[in-house]
Amino acid sequence: MALSRSRTALALVLAATIAFPFLAEAAGGGYYVGLMTRVMIYALAATSLNLVLGYGGMISFGHAAFFGAGAYAVAILAQEGVTSVWVAWPMAIAAGAALALVIGAISLRTRGLYFIMITLAFAQMLYYFFVSLKAYGGEDGINLVVRSRLPGLDLRDETTFYLLVLALLAGCLYLLGRLAASRFGAVLRGIRENEARMTALGYPTYRYRLACFTIAGGAAGLAGALIVNQHGFVSPGLLDWTQSGTLLIMLILGGVGWLYGGVAGAAAMLLLEEVLSLWTGYWKLGLGLVLLFVVLRAPGGVGSWFARGNARG
């Protein structure tokens, strides 16, 4: 019963998100198509963090590095004349994954607070690397000369781009769901709960965690490729530690370890930001108060409210 109900809900949400840009354009709210695209891109980034944190149990405080690396990969390639989606976006994924592989290989030797801090350190290194990369804008960042090109689709059209982002997000969520349900996902959860036992059972836990970290880095790289296409611009600010913090917060807000936690959190946070900034210039104050309330009163995130509702129903 619960399963079929959640399936119906999922189908309804999907139908609504597909219909949204057409309705918004018809109602003259084209601005909101862009806003929702941004929400979905951040949802993808937060979802990739969810794989690391929610399923792998690793508190990475440097996830913006992979997000930013993907964005820079696309922008740099475009400046060098490579604008095809088929080349640029896989390169963005590869950049995120390769970085995650290297950073993870070193960071995963540490535990707990030290892991939080070493991932942060690597993200800061990358931040300063791009700040001093004068050939590609340095501190000021670079403009994306032209949006990535996909034969047959005009990505400059907001609705087309929105639908493509939606398709990618849905695809990634599907893959994440499959991954979580697979043997790989089960091993990851086992490591999260009790690594010593998994080691004793003969699992190469380090390699499993590294694989998880690398996959997530690749997904974050894809999100980066999308965000640079939407903003038409990337600067080191995208790799700032507060960005990593924002991604973490989205995920915690949405519900760590819940498949849709990243989506719920990104939507909740960005829409809250939007609504609050309509009322007041001090929207960060409001956002901060909401976050504090969530920590103290709803530690499981927005998702836990749904879960509780389901349990009752």
């Binding site: 801090m117 913090g245 104050l285 976050l291 920590v295």
Partner: protein, 306 residues
Amino acid sequence: MSALLLLEQGLNGLQFGLMLFLLAAGLTLVFGIMDMVNLAHGSLYMIGAYLMATLAQATGSFWIALPLAMAATAAVGMALEAGLLRRLYERDHLSQVLATFALILIANDLVRMIWGPQALLLDAPRALAGTIEIIPGAPYPAFRAFIIGVGLAVAAALYWMIVHTRVGALVRAGASNREMALALGVNVKRLFTLVFGLGAALCALAGAMLGPLLAVQIGMGESILIQAFVVVVIGGIGSIRGALVGALLVGMLDTIGRAFLPVLLRGFLSNNIADALGPTLAAMAVYILMAAVLYWKPTGLFAARG
């Protein structure tokens, strides 16, 4: 000439390192004793600097304002601890990150509400406006020399407090084994609040010292917070001695690296590459050091927990 430059940059590095130590000392104690990630430590530094600038303006004297600002910031810190952060000690690190990140957002907007978006001016005391000659023929700004003196004095006082007083013994006990300290009947609630107040006062001191050199502005706590975290992690969480060593390492490496790395690289590489690579490496050096330390000593140089 080059030796004088090296001396001057060395002193700058020492001065920056000691200021980082003021921030890292409070951070490492909170980290080590309460097992708490406090991202809002940088906000206390910002609040301290703003209070200092305001009080210096109101009283017309740097010297009257300094103790007032430290006391006021300590009060803010203790109120924050007693009212909110205390509830987070038992929670996981993620909740602590979220809550204290929220505090950063709140503090930044509150400061903007109260003081406005413009940066404030904080002048160095007039008596220290000139230069002094540590070595004949090498003038050095008197205020920077004063900062070094203050930093060394605080380091010595903290060391004495940790090693020779009862409070220090409790702090050490709490950092190395919190449960045991609890079981032995230490009044941890009061100890925690006290430690937090001390950390906040040191933040205000650092804010007052750095205010005249850097700008007193919103967000000033964020970049230095990360550097303070680097110091804490290099030194080993919970260790004051580690914080001092880490702070000096980071301060020196950062300052000397920025000044000399490009020149040094020219010895090995072509000028073009050296000029491009030097500043990049210098900016990354601190984080490379941290990653290297954690790679070989995953709990820092002086781990407090055995």
